[in-house]
């Protein structure tokens, strides 16, 4: 009798043009929390999708409790006691907690085709109490917070008698306090004999909760270590393959006159969005104002209002003293507003266009890139050559399709376009989401360099570490309201965490 519950042996999985898993072996022990660490594209998700039966490996085998198994669909995985909580929850929004948990393996009244809701509700209550995952079985999913939705996902797996849980980036949508809650549940489950694979790229969390750490890079397992003998620096080095600077050096800010001023900005919620309520903020030349908050608390709405993509209902936005509330995005851009959008695939670039075309996506109509409505390709390519050099965009040529670059280089392309011209305000929304550590460092340096050149920077990020590293002042956004603005030098992680959860800190905190 072995205590290895899951073993992957020599898994190889290739996709056209890339080997996502190259001879990967991994084992998971009973009662263990195993952190699987790696950057985007390292092959973590591919490996887990093989284990969960979503992909079939080209080579290699999976063993559960020492027995080789065939996994050709998630159904097989569930039958064998594997549960997966995806990064994007797989819940039916208008249904209740109980209905979601029962969905697909319903309890019926005897042999009739009718649902036994009472038994289901009872079962959910039992599980909820046993594992300390408090939910109300009758709440409708769309009305409960994201942290609770995640508990429902975990309960769903436990209801299906999962002994092995795979959690894919489970902390991305949680406040620091909710993360602590999740870790408590994870430890509880592990003590009760469940085994957990915890996928993440956040070093702090790995050190806090994992029993053992496996790092992946470019489709291979590149290292294994124990949290007792690791630091954030050693883990980062293992993950990236070289020494990394986790915190870019940054001197004190020299804040100057107000560049961006937002006064009493309000707008009602659109479908699936959040309403903004009387948001006011100021960004000065030469400072970085960080807007912290858990994803989905009005960040998108605020940024789109400031950049002109969304109409506001009341309030005013002014830039360098001019009221720009009614201006189009193009007018704001030509006034010196640069914008790094949160979703580069949707907003930042056109994947099928060349690097050169993407670099003039918002200036293509200006000289020298076009004259009297005719494009000047030579000028566009010259411009691109310069920016590719200056911003270290790794691309074979400027004619390469932007969509074929790596995530980090795509983001550098966006940064180059926005900062490669004279601007006075930079609005950066999640500028490093899904970007490799090397590129994060580069982008952070760029943002600080812009601040030091006297540019006003509004940084919106759900990564608290990013906010704490870069900001001079921090505003916390909660349900569409700015509930506090603090000096970054005096802010603590705990205080910000409470604010992000909507707990208004007492004035003497």
């Amino acid at each position: 009798m072995t205590d290895i519950v899951l073993e992957a042996r020599h898994i190889t999985k290739a996709f056209p043009g890339v080997v996502a898993n190259d001879d990967v072996s991994l084992s998971l022990h009973r009662g263990e929390i195993l952190a699987l660490l790696g950057e985007n594209g390292a092959g973590k998700s591919t490996l887990m999708n093989v284990v969960y039966g979503l992909y079939r490996a080209d080579q290699g085998e999976i063993l559960i409790e020492g027995e080789p198994v065939q996994l050709s669909s998630p159904r097989d995985a569930i039958r064998l006691g594997i549960g997966m909580v995806h990064q994007h929850f797989q819940l039916v929004q208008p249904m209740t907690v109980t209905e979601n948990i029962l969905l697909g393996s319903e309890i019926t009244l005897g042999r009739t085709p009718f649902l036994d809701f009472e038994a289901g509700r009872q079962r959910v209550r039992e599980l909820s109490v046993r594992y300390g995952l408090s939910v109300n079985p009758d709440d409708v999913i769309e009305h409960i917070p994201v942290g609770v939705q995640q508990r429902v996902e975990i309960l769903k797996a436990l209801y299906r008698q999962a002994r092995i849980l795979i959690l894919d980036e489970p902390t991305a949508v949680l406040t620091p306090q909710e993360i602590q809650d999740l870790f408590r549940v994870m430890r509880e489950l592990a003590r009760g004999g469940h085994s957990i694979i915890f996928i993440t790229h956040k070093l702090r969390e790995v050190l806090e909760v994992a029993h053992r750490i496996v790092a992946m890079r470019q489709g291979r397992v590149v290292g294994e270590s124990l949290p007792e003998s690791s630091t954030q620096a050693t883990l980062a080095e293992m993950m990236v393959g070289r020494k990394v600077i986790l915190q870019v050096p940054k001197g004190p800010a020299h804040a100057d006159q107000v560049v961006l001023e937002v006064r009493d900005l309000s707008m009602s919620a659109t479908r699936g969005g959040v309403a903004l309520k009387d948001v006011s903020l100021e960004v000065h030349a030469g400072e970085i104002l960080g807007v912290a908050g858990v994803q989905g608390n009005g960040q998108t709405e605020l940024v789109e209002a400031i950049t002109g993509l969304r109409h506001v209902q009341s309030g005013a936005i002014s830039m360098n003293g001019s009221n720009v509330t009614a201006w189009s995005p193009r007018q704001r851009s030509s006034m010196g507003m640069a914008y790094i959008p949160e979703d580069r695939h949707r907003f930042g670039m056109v994947g099928s266009y060349s690097v050169a075309e993407n670099l003039v996506l918002n200036t293509y109509h200006l000289e020298p890139y076009s004259r009297r409505g005719v494009r000047d390709d030579a000028a566009i390519r010259d411009h691109a050559e310069q920016l590719v050099q200056a911003f270290d965009i790794r691309t074979p040529t400027v004619d390469t399709a932007a969509g074929s670059l790596s995530g980090g280089n795509q983001q550098k392309l966006v940064v180059a376009r926005e900062l490669g011209r004279e601007v006075s305000l930079l609005v950066a929304s999640q500028p490093t989401r899904g970007v490799d550590v090397g590129s994060i460092e580069f982008i952070h340096r760029q943002i600080v360099a812009q601040r030091d050149r006297g540019i006003a920077v509004l940084l919106v990020s759900a990564e608290l570490d990013e906010i704490l590293t870069l900001s001079d002042r921090i505003a916390v956004l909660y349900e569409g309201e700015i509930i506090a603005t603090v000096e970054a030098s005096q802010a603590t992680r705990e205080q910000l965490g409470l604010l992000m959860a909507g707990v208004r800190a007492p004035l003497n905190a």
């Binding site: 080997v19 995005p329 193009r330 670039m349 099928s352 918002n362």
Partner: protein, 387 residues
């Protein structure tokens, strides 16, 4: 990682790049003709004789060639119409209605404007035809940006309106005292025939080479000129950059400060104008009048032409000539082999299914799905209902 592509010679890579865009249309055609052949075999016909007859009828001799070119002329323009809208991310099913509205406008000018020299009258009639189609095309564009109405629905509905409206324009009047339409020709109406008068000679598009090609008119030249013009607009002009960006990624276009709504309306207007021009040259060059039998079916053929041509102007030209040959040669095929010419419509419908459903071709030929930019037109079509 060793990419197998690196081991190929430069020449063969160049060849692959050149041939790639032709692969899936070619496979679509092969499949369509193969299924057509099976259909003929099932009904006891010889597909070889039939297809030989078809080829003869399409390209065998000057008469056949004239017929092919004559048929292809409106297809080029309606094909460009659908292709241009496609570049802006819009599916223009309304080329047929735009074709009719353009025709009606140009014939109105051709019949009603009197006493002006040809060098004014003819351009005026052409312009009216373009404008009539453009106006009709702009309506779904406006509805889309103003109220979010999907252009597939609105263009289909506008087709009906255009068809009934133009019929009314030329309506001969009825025996129960119904008024004749404003464009109906009194002489014809007296005999109960619904049609316009003949357009004045000053508005007529002359024949291109009367001694060589039969009834091939200057409309062909207009269509041939439109091909590089549309290509240039799309690939070289600032406006074309906006059109393509809106089509590829509307969010990015908006974020980049482009006037997305304006671009959509203008793209639909240009698409409509091209379809209107197709009807115009057909009338001014060939029929000389407008009658309700004129159905604007070339507008629907434009969809097949554009998709078979991968929504690229040059591809549209090639596929328009191909489709022209298909219809031009059908009669000869029937004469030679006794196979009914309707089988050609089966083949043509199969071509449309194959080009509109690239997955089908991939499954048939076990091709790997490519996620390259060349496939975006098709994949957009397959998922087009979302946007």
């Amino acid at each position: 990682m060793a990419d197998p592509l690196d081991q190929r010679t430069r020449f063969s890579r160049w060849l692959v790049r050149l041939a790639h865009p032709l692969v899936s249309p070619a496979l679509a055609l092969v499949t369509a003709f193969a299924v057509g052949a099976v259909t003929m075999l099932l009904s006891g016909d010889n597909p070889l004789t039939a297809y030989w007859g078809l080829l003869q009828g399409a390209f065998g001799g000057l008469d056949a060639l004239s017929r092919t070119l004559r048929t292809a002329t409106p297809y080029i323009l309606t094909g460009l119409s659908v292709a241009f809208a496609f570049k802006a991310g819009l599916f223009n099913i309304g080329a047929s209605g735009q074709f009719l509205m353009g025709t009606a406008a140009s014939v109105a000018v051709g019949v009603l404007v009197k006493g002006v020299p040809a060098f004014i009258h003819l351009p005026l009639a052409l312009l009216a035809g373009f404008a009539g189609g453009a106006l009709w095309g702009a309506i779904p564009g406006v509805l889309k940006v103003w109220r979010g109405a999907h252009e597939v629905i609105t263009t289909i509905m506008l087709n009906y309106i255009a068809s009934l409206f133009t019929s009314w324009l030329v309506y001969a009047g009825g025996t129960q005292g119904q008024q004749p339409g404003p464009l109906s020709d009194p002489a014809a109406a007296a005999q109960g025939i619904s049609q316009t008068g003949t357009i004045l000679p000053t508005a007529k598009l002359p024949e291109l080479l009367p001694d060589v090609l039969t009834r091939v008119h200057w409309g062909l030249v207009i269509a041939l000129v439109a091909v590089p013009v549309i290509w240039w607009i799309l690939k070289r002009s600032t406006f074309g950059f906006e059109v393509r960006t809106v089509g590829e990624n509307m969010s990015a276009a908006r974020y980049a400060g482009m006037r997305v709504n304006w671009t959509i309306v203008l793209s639909m207007a240009i698409a409509g104008g091209l379809a209107g021009l197709a009807g115009t040259v057909e009338c001014l060059g060939l029929h000389g009048r407008f009658a309700p039998e004129f159905t604007g079916s070339a507008g629907f053929e434009g969809i097949t032409v554009a998709l078979l041509g991968r929504t690229e102007p040059v591809g549209v030209l090639l596929s328009a000539v191909f489709m022209g040959g298909l219809y031009g040669g059908a009669a000869k095929m029937q004469f030679e082999s006794g196979v009914r010419s309707e089988i050609i419509q089966v083949v043509q419908a199969l071509v449309l299914v194959m080009v509109a459903a690239p997955e089908l071709v991939r499954v048939v030929y076990r091709m790997r799905a490519r996620r390259s930019e060349e496939d975006t037109a098709e994949s957009k079509l397959a998922t087009g209902w979302g946007g």
